[in-house]
Amino acid sequence: MRCDECRDLLGADADGELMPEESNAIREHLASCSQCTAEHDAMRELSRRLKDGLDRPRAPDVLKARIRSSLARPTLPGASAPAPRAWRTSVLAAGVMIAALSATASYAVARRGTFEPSVGEQVLSSHIRSLMPGHLTDVASNDLHNVKPWFNGRVDLSPNVPRLDSLGYPLVGGRLDYVSGRSVAAVVYTRRQHVINVFSWPIDRGDASAASMSTEHGYHLAHWRAGGAEYWVASDVSEPDLRRFVELFERAGGTTDPK
């Protein structure tokens, strides 16, 4: 094999796209050619740097919610896609989303023969609704001393608000939400661009269960009971990130103080 032939194929070889005999020919040539070996090493180094160093942006929650809400819209024959910026009419988008969620809820009712969507479905609906512009927080603060007292008198427990900023999960605030027929505390964290909602409400102190994870419509849910509170966490961060969040939250959380 000549040097120029070898160099043309080095990339494809590293990508695993060559036939075995071609790869072998390159191997043989490299064994006897220091210049091509240097080229080969540079190629590997480039690939390593690109893999480590190139940004891998993940689609933000808000974009995913917008796309899901536009897919849920009934597609009329001949209906054209909305103009790219039409989503900014966020009131409409929120309305569509809520209609879609009600449709999901009715479907759940029909399927189960009950009038209540499951708690997990309600948590997920609340999570998606919170991603609509202006719905995420009632109190926006990264200071737990602002967020925790805000819930006083609004819900019947003082929710856990552990400080997880230094661990990669900054606090962004809290809001009042409504799940299972009651007002609940929703504490909001983020992971990179992704929103993590932690819902909690009081239960019997003795009632405890370890965290369990599930996935619905591309969102991950975690659920556990501890220290006199029921917790639900919803997000579309990766599953390992959410698991870690739950571990950190449980470890840092201590117990809640039902009133």
Partner: protein
């Protein structure tokens, strides 16, 4: 479109939204336009879902995203695809891990890599992103970009040659 088709579409295509968005960010140079274009592309994909067939759903969706990025550029700018992503790579708080931020050296290396890739012509940049980030095979890349596998291979080789030069890895100057 029947509810059943929308559900099939969601099941097949929505898992690839991160990849779609990543490609759009690199092709358009900023996250804001990428969000608009990805949303538009997904809705188009839904309308053309009948034509999807049995192939690789990710490559099919990314081909539409890529075409939407290119038409976006034709509509908004006459020149080649933007290079402003390098600016985005320099700004704080954009999808960077906190660990990386604590290491100035790493972070300047990341910026250098972002800039080098952003400065590639679009036809080279897209094959690099599809190969190095999305880890697609040449066959999948050829589906997304709409060129023969041989062209994918030669574009990748030329793109890499440029990058080894701009990142100072080259043994010799690129011809």
């Amino acid at each position: 479109m029947a509810q059943r088709d929308v559900e099939a579409f969601e099941r097949l295509m929505l898992p690839h939204l991160d990849d779609a968005y990543g490609l759009a960010c690199h092709l358009l140079g900023n996250e804001h336009d990428a969000q608009d274009v990805v949303q538009d592309a997904v809705l188009r994909a839904l309308r053309y879902f009948d034509g999807y067939g049995e192939g690789d759903p990710r490559a099919w969706l990314l081909a539409i995203v890529r075409n939407c990025c290119h038409s976006w550029h034709r509509q908004h700018r006459a020149d080649r695809l933007s290079v402003s992503y390098s600016d985005a790579a320099d700004s704080p708080n954009l999808h960077r891990t906190p660990e990386a931020d604590t290491h100035a050296i790493q972070s300047s290396e990341r910026a250098a890599i972002g800039r080098a890739v952003a400065e590639l012509p679009a036809e080279f940049r897209e094959v690099i992103v599809l190969r190095e980030i999305q880890e697609m095979s040449y066959k999948e890349i050829s589906t997304v970009v709409g060129v023969p596998i041989g062209t994918v291979m030669s574009r990748l080789a030329r793109a890499r040659k440029r990058l080894t030069v701009s990142l100072g890895l080259s043994v010799r100057e690129a011809s």
